[in-house]
C-alpha cells in the first residue's frame, strides 16, 4: 500500500520557499540541532550587549496560542520574538472564543487571516500542530502537544548540557519521574539519542510506558540507578493529566520516599535539571533545587536564546527540512 497522508499540504501549490515547521524532534537531523544550538550561542552573545534588540525579524508576526497554562514557555517565546523585533500577539484559550466552543480548526483559520509568519501553539492534543499547519499558511512551532512533544524544551536542555559539559555525546542522562505523561521526556529521549547520549528512565512501573525502550533508552524502577548518570533530569508528577482513581502511585508521600531526588541519592559532581514547574518536596528535595550543581535557572535562560534561534531559523532560509505531513507505511 502507498503512503497515507494526513496533511494535505501536498495538494497545494508549494510555498516559495518551502514552509517549515518544528513539531517534533524527529523532524530534525543532528546537523539541524547543531546549527540551532550554534545560532542560540551567537544570540546569547548578542544579549550581553547593552542594546539587546536585533532587527532580524522586523515586520514579522509571531502569534502565541496557548490552550494550556504556561509561564516559562509562553514568556520566553514572546520575549524571543520581541528581542528579534518581530510583532507578537498572544492568545490564551480561556477568555477567547475557545470558551464559546470554537473548534481548533476555526480558531486557526481566524488567526491565519492575519497572515502570521509563525504560530507558536500549545495544545492538550497530539496532532493539533499539524491541523493548524494544514489550515494556515504559517510556520508552526510546537510548544507542547499533549503528552507527545515539546521540542524547544529538549533543544534548550541540549543547549544547557552542552554549555555545562562542553559536549553531549557519550554523556549519561537519567530522566526520573512521571514519564508516561511527559512530552518533555519524549522529546528529550529522542534529542539526547540523536546527539549520542545514553538515556535511562527511572520511575514507578505504571509511569514507565510499556514499549518505550524502542525509542532507544533503558528503563528501571530503581532510583539508585541515578547514581551512574552525569545528568539527573527530574520530571514533575503531572497530576492534572492523571485520571482520578488511576492509582499510578499509592500516594505522593510514597512517591517521594521512593523516587524523590535527594542529596543523599546524588553523588558529587552530578548536574540536576528540571523543566519546571517544580514541586519542591515531592519529586525534588529543596536542597537539590537550590544547590550549585542545579542547572535549572540556566535552563530558563537557555530557553530564551534557543527560542530566538528557532524563530530565526524557521524564518530565514536555513536548511531545517521540517514537514508537517507524516507519511506512514501501512502494513
Amino acid at each position: 500500500m502507498g503512503d497515507l497522508h494526513v496533511m494535505r499540504d501536498d495538494l497545494r501549490p508549494p510555498d516559495p520557499p518551502a514552509r517549515r515547521h518544528l513539531i517534533s524532534i524527529t523532524d530534525l537531523t543532528r546537523e539541524d540541532v547543531e546549527r540551532l544550538l550554534g545560532t542560540a550561542r551567537s544570540f546569547e552573545r548578542s544579549l550581553e550587549r547593552e542594546m539587546k534588540k536585533l532587527p532580524t525579524l522586523r515586520g514579522r508576526l509571531v502569534v502565541n496560542v496557548f490552550y494550556e497554562s504556561s509561564t516559562r514557555t509562553s514568556s520566553s517565546f514572546e520575549l524571543a520574538a520581541k528581542r528579534l523585533s518581530a510583532d507578537t500577539m498572544s492568545i490564551k484559550a480561556s477568555g477567547s472564543a475557545v470558551d464559546k466552543g470554537e473548534s481548533l480548526k476555526d480558531t486557526a483559520i481566524t488567526l491565519g487571516a492575519y497572515d502570521p509568519d509563525v504560530i507558536v501553539l500549545r495544545h492538550p492534543h497530539i496532532g493539533a500542530p499539524q491541523l493548524v499547519a494544514r489550515v494556515t499558511e504559517a510556520r508552526i512551532v510546537n510548544a507542547g502537544d499533549g503528552k507527545h512533544q515539546h521540542p524547544t524544551q529538549a533543544l534548550l536542555d541540549l543547549y544547557t548540557i552542552q554549555e555545562s559539559f562542553g559536549r553531549i555525546e557519550g554523556l549519561h542522562v537519567a530522566i526520573v519521574g512521571d514519564i508516561l505523561h511527559s512530552r518533555v521526556a519524549r522529546s528529550n529521549i529522542q534529542a539526547l539519542a540523536l546527539l549520542g547520549a545514553r538515556v535511562t528512565l527511572v520511575g514507578p512501573p505504571p509511569l514507565l510506558p510499556r514499549g518505550i525502550e524502542a525509542m532507544g533508552c533503558e528503563t528501571t524502577t530503581d532510583i539508585e540507578a541515578i547514581g551512574a548518570a552525569d545528568v539527573v533530569y527530574i520530571l514533575r508528577m503531572q497530576q492534572e493529566r492523571m485520571q482520578e482513581g488511576a492509582n499510578y502511585v499509592p500516594s505522593l508521600r510514597e512517591y517521594t520516599a521512593r523516587w524523590g531526588v535527594t542529596p543523599e541519592r546524588l553523588r558529587p559532581g552530578q548536574k540536576v535539571m528540571h523543566p519546571g514547574p517544580m514541586n519542591r518536596g515531592v519529586e525534588i528535595d529543596p536542597r537539590v533545587a537550590d544547590a550549585g550543581d542545579a542547572l535549572i535557572e540556566t535552563q530558563v535562560r537557555a530557553g530564551l536564546v534557543v527560542r530566538m534561534a528557532v524563530l530565526y531559523d524557521l524564518l530565514t532560509t536555513g536548511p531545517a527540512a521540517v514537514k508537517a505531513e507524516l507519511p506512514v507505511k501501512v502494513a
Partner: protein, 435 residues
C-alpha cells in the same frame, strides 16, 4: 424468526454469461452461466439461452453469493446527517452486500418494539438491500435493566447487543444469556473492560509510548472475551464476539471452541490490514474501537479468519460527521466507514499477496456472517433468491470522497488505489448496484 426488511420493487430477470462462479458452501468453482427469472435463480449451465432476458457478460469476472455484513451503524434514528437507511443500504449495495445488520446504539436506542417497528417500516420503504436490526441488551444501553427481549424478538430483532459499549456488570450479562434463551436469538458482545480502556485512544505498545497517546491495552478486550465465554459455557448459550482485535482474544476463542462452546466471532477489514503503526499519521480516520493492534495481533486475526475460528468479516461501518473527525486524534470519535471498500481492501491486502484464498474470503463475507445469526445464507443454487455479487479481480480503482454513497467520508482508505472491484450487486432479486 429473525426478520430482514427491504424495499419491495420489481425483480430482475437476466442471464450472467461466462463468469467464474464461486460458491464455497455449494462447492462450486467453475465457469457457468446463471439465469435469473424474476429475482430467482432459475438455471445454472453453459450457453444458456437469453430468452429475452438482459445478458450480462461475465467473462473474466467472478460471480459469488453476495455479502452479508453483520455489523453496521446506520445512525438512524437520531443522526440522519451521518447516515440513513437509504444511504447506508446504497453504500452496502455498492460494496457487494445483499444484507446488513444494523446496531441499536442510536438516538433513541433500539430497546423497545416501538422503535424497532418504526425502523422496520422505514426499511421497507427505503432499504436497497435487506436490513436486519439488532436490539439492545439493556434499556437505553445503560447496562442496568434488560430490554423486553421476548417482544423485540417477536418484532424481528436479529439478535441482542449493547454494541458501542460493553455489558459491564457481569451479573447483567449472565441474566441476558439466561433470559435470551426464550428467543433463540444470539447475544453479540462488544468486549471491553472500560476500567482498562479508560483514557485510551490507541493500542498500548511502543507506538503509543512514543507518541504519548493514551494506551488501550489488548487485555481490555481479552479479559471480557474470557469472562463472556465462561458465562456462555456455564449457561450453554451461543455467543457472538464482535470486532475482535487482540491475539489474546483469538487464543481464548480457539480454546473455547475446542471445548465445544458455541461461539462465533467477527473481524473488521481495518484490523486485518492496518496496525498501530498507522496511527503515526495522526489521521482521525485510523481511530477506532477497538483500536488497531500490533502486527502480532493482525497476523493472529488473519490466521483465525483463514482457518475459520473467526467466521465473519464485519465492517463495523461507523459513519461520523466531517467536523467531528476534523479535530486532533485524541479529540476525535472512534469509528470508520467500510461498506464500500471492504471487499477491495481485503482482496488487495490478503488475496492478492496470497495470504488468503478468494473462496475463503467470499465465504467469510457471506455464509459465515449469515450462519452466525441463523440467517439463510445467500447461495448460487437453482430455486434460491438471487443474492449475487459480480466482482472484477482485474480492475483497480482509487478511493475518493466524492464517490461514496454513504453520507460520511471517514474512510481510512481515501486516496488509496485498490485492486478488485464490485461490478454489480443483486440483492433480494433486484439489481441494486451496477458500476
Amino acid at each position: 424468526m429473525p426478520k430482514l426488511f427491504v424495499k419491495d420493487a420489481p425483480k430482475e430477470s437476466l442471464v450472467v454469461r461466462g463468469a467464474r462462479v464461486v460458491d464455497p458452501v455449494e462447492g462450486i468453482d467453475t465457469q457457468l452461466d446463471v439465469k435469473i427469472d424474476s429475482g430467482t435463480i432459475a438455471e445454472l449451465g453453459s450457453s444458456l439461452p437469453a430468452n429475452g432476458h438482459r445478458v450480462v457478460d461475465g467473462a473474466g469476472l467472478v460471480l459469488a453469493p453476495a455479502f452479508v455484513d453483520p455489523h453496521v451503524h446506520l445512525r438512524t434514528p437520531g443522526r440522519e446527517d451521518e447516515e440513513t437507511i437509504a444511504s447506508g443500504t446504497q453504500a452496502a449495495a455498492a460494496g457487494g452486500y445483499c444484507a446488513i445488520l444494523a446496531m441499536p446504539n442510536t438516538e433513541p436506542v433500539v430497546d423497545s418494539a416501538a422503535v424497532l417497528g418504526a425502523l422496520a417500516e422505514q426499511a421497507r420503504a427505503d432499504a436497497e438491500v435487506s436490513v436486519g436490526f439488532l436490539a439492545a441488551i439493556s434499556k437505553g444501553q445503560a447496562g442496568a435493566e434488560l430490554t423486553e427481549m421476548g417482544e423485540l424478538a417477536d418484532e424481528g430483532a436479529v439478535g441482542f447487543t449493547d454494541d458501542g459499549r460493553p455489558v459491564v456488570a457481569t451479573a447483567l450479562m449472565w441474566r441476558a444469556l439466561q433470559y435470551s434463551s426464550i428467543t433463540d436469538r444470539p447475544l453479540a458482545v462488544h468486549c471491553e473492560d472500560p476500567t482498562l480502556s479508560r483514557g485510551g485512544h490507541m493500542h498500548e505498545g511502543a507506538v503509543s509510548a512514543e507518541l504519548g497517546i493514551g494506551g488501550w491495552p489488548s487485555i481490555a478486550e481479552s479479559v471480557m472475551v474470557e469472562r463472556d465465554l465462561a458465562l456462555a459455557e456455564y449457561e450453554g448459550r451461543p455467543l457472538h464476539l464482535m470486532h475482535l482485535s487482540a491475539h489474546e482474544s483469538v487464543d481464548a476463542l480457539r480454546r473455547a471452541q475446542a471445548e465445544g462452546i458455541s461461539a462465533t466471532a467477527e473481524v473488521t477489514p481495518h484490523h486485518l490490514v492496518l496496525t498501530d503503526e498507522a496511527v503515526r499519521s495522526l489521521d482521525p480516520n485510523v481511530k477506532m474501537n477497538p483500536p488497531l493492534g500490533s502486527d502480532h495481533d493482525r497476523q493472529a486475526l488473519i490466521e483465525a479468519l483463514r482457518v475459520g475460528t473467526i467466521s465473519c468479516v464485519a465492517t463495523d461501518h461507523a459513519p461520523h460527521a466531517r467536523h467531528e473527525k476534523d479535530v486532533p486524534f485524541e479529540a476525535a470519535p472512534f469509528g470508520v466507514t467500510g461498506l464500500e471498500t471492504a471487499f477491495s481492501a481485503l482482496y488487495t491486502h490478503l488475496v492478492e499477496p496470497g495470504v488468503l484464498e478468494l473462496p475463503t474470503l467470499l465465504e467469510r463475507m457471506s455464509a459465515g456472517p449469515a450462519r452466525a445469526y441463523g440467517l439463510e445464507a445467500p447461495r448460487v443454487a437453482v430455486g434460491a433468491q438471487a443474492n449475487l455479487v459480480l466482482l472484477d479481480p482485474g480492475a483497480s480503482w482509487r478511493v475518493t470522497e466524492d464517490a461514496f454513497r454513504s453520507r460520511s467520508m471517514n474512510s481510512w482508505l481515501i486516496g488509496e488505489t485498490l485492486q478488485g472491484r464490485v461490478c454489480a450487486t443483486i440483492a433480494a432479486g433486484r439489481l441494486v448496484h451496477e458500476g
